[in-house]
Amino acid sequence: MEGEALIKVDDVRHAFLSKTGEEEVLALDGINIDIARGEMVSLIGPSGCGKSTLLNVVGGMIAASQGHVLIGGTPVKGPRPKDVAYIFQESALLPWATILDNIKVSLEFQGVPRASRDKIARISLTAVGLDAFGDSYPHQLSGGMKQRAALARALSLRTDILLMDEPFAALDEQTRMIFSEDLSRLLANEHKTIVLVTHSLAEAVFLSDRIFVFTSRPGRIKAVLNVDEPHPRIPTFMTSSKFNDLRNRLYELLRDEVLAAIGKDRQGLA
């Protein structure tokens, strides 16, 4: 399947009605992205640039106003639970169910037969190092562990594609670093195709093969950075000069856009 994109975003444009009603807001414009099988891609940009919207268009959770997304050659017309798994900003673990049951419920929704759910759920819990916490409830886990459990749930769905919407946002700095390293190691074995929405320059560089930098609203692709580094990424990569160069380059690209986004907000306030 070399050369053929697993995810193809074809000239996507998306507008929505503003909260006050009549005004139409253009969120995304002229987005073209090809993502190869096994590639790890980050979408980064100022708040409100539409990167999360694009993730939801790819996942079939939002229908784009124009253009379309192809996964494996077929157009996305709604959620594709066999192809796509999500990791949300907050863990989205159901508080009334144990960690194990949380995973099993998603497997049930996906249509996995009852007999194999328990086994699949336990395997993925072991993969993220939470095998001892299957019978715990979400509120008994730390933020990092909850996000790990959410990762286990996403892995258990055995999809080719993993969409991550700021999965680190609710975690503290140190937990984020460790989680990034774990993620890189785990995903190197899984050969999944990943789209990550993030605000963090370091995470984007540390995890991605390619980074798409978005302009402030309406979101357009401003630049694409290649991170030519094998997976799994190891902690020393984070202190290398290559890492720093890429991070600084990303910062330069983003700085103007963030300023522009803040400026627009100020105008809106005035």
């Binding site: 639970p81 066999k82 999500y86 949300f88 989205a92 009334w96 929704f109 509120h139």
Partner: protein
């Protein structure tokens, strides 16, 4: 948001064990203090025994009522009325609340209406019930059902409409069917709020039935209290008052227990 609230939850769970004993002691203490005050104000007839009989007198009559089964005919009527009114309130309130919660428009339009009706004194409709259905149990059943309907309906609307949208997105992204979404996500997420509605609905339904019986009735516990009051038999009256309080407290305790157990899950 969820981080802070779950931390708070864990904290209360941890504290609850040592606090349970303390709160039980406080409850018993309040009860003993009330009895002591009651005893002190009546022992030297500081308050006339005609208005407030001595506690030992009331307790004697109370046990007499229980032992002889004297309260049974009235209790049977009241319980029969409640056995119909309570479930009607819960089922009708739950069904209407669920239908309203199905659309965002319905929630926006009807939630304020239901909650404002909840705020008006529904007792003013009791004469209408009596006029339409007579002075027998039917008017109490209708009144009790009406009283319990609104809190149940409101809690059901709130329970279903405030389900975290993230859970719904998760369900959609993993391919949940409509019935899976309802049984696996919506219902368990809304259950604690709905159970509060069940408790409130049943309690208010019971209160409304007792209240209705005191206003216009020929039988039932509420009627018996008024009957003894009009007959100047305050000992009997207070014994029945204690009886109603005991029934209400028992019911509330049983329903709270159900709510807490479900909430912990």
């Amino acid at each position: 948001m969820s981080g802070a609230s779950s931390a708070g939850q864990a904290l209360t769970l941890r504290l609850s064990k040592s606090q349970k004993r303390l709160s039980l002691l406080v409850k018993i203490g309040v009860l003993v203090a009330l009895l002591a005050i009651w005893h002190l104000v009546t022992v030297d007839e500081f308050v006339s025994p005609f208005f407030l009989p001595k506690p030992d007198e009331v307790l004697r009559v109370f046990f007499n009522i229980i032992v002889t089964g004297q309260a049974w005919p009235d209790l049977k009527v009241t319980l029969f009325e409640f056995a119909l009114a309570g479930p009607i309130a819960v089922i009708a309130g739950g069904a209407v609340g669920f239908l309203i919660s199905l659309t965002r428009y319905g929630t926006r339009a009807f939630e304020p209406i239901v909650s404002s009706v909840y705020a008006i004194p529904i007792i003013i409709f009791y004469p209408v019930s009596v006029m339409a259905l007579g002075i027998g149990p039917e008017s109490k059943i209708a009144h009790g059902a009406l009283f319990g309907f609104f809190p149940m309906c409101l809690s059901t609307i709130q329970g279903f409409s405030r389900v975290d949208p993230l859970y719904i997105r998760l369900a959609h992204s993993t391919g949940a069917s409509k019935s899976q979404l309802f049984w696996r996500i919506m219902l368990p997420a809304a259950a604690p709020t709905i159970l509060t509605g069940v408790r409130l609905g049943l309690m208010l339904s019971f209160l409304a039935i007792i209240g209705g019986e005191t206003i216009a009735s020929l039988e039932g516990i509420g009627h018996r209290i008024v009957w003894y009051a009009e007959g100047m038999q305050t000992g009997n009256m207070f014994a029945y008052i204690v009886f109603v309080i005991m029934v209400a407290v028992l019911m509330n305790t049983a329903l709270s227990f159900l709510e807490i157990r479900r909430g912990r899950q």
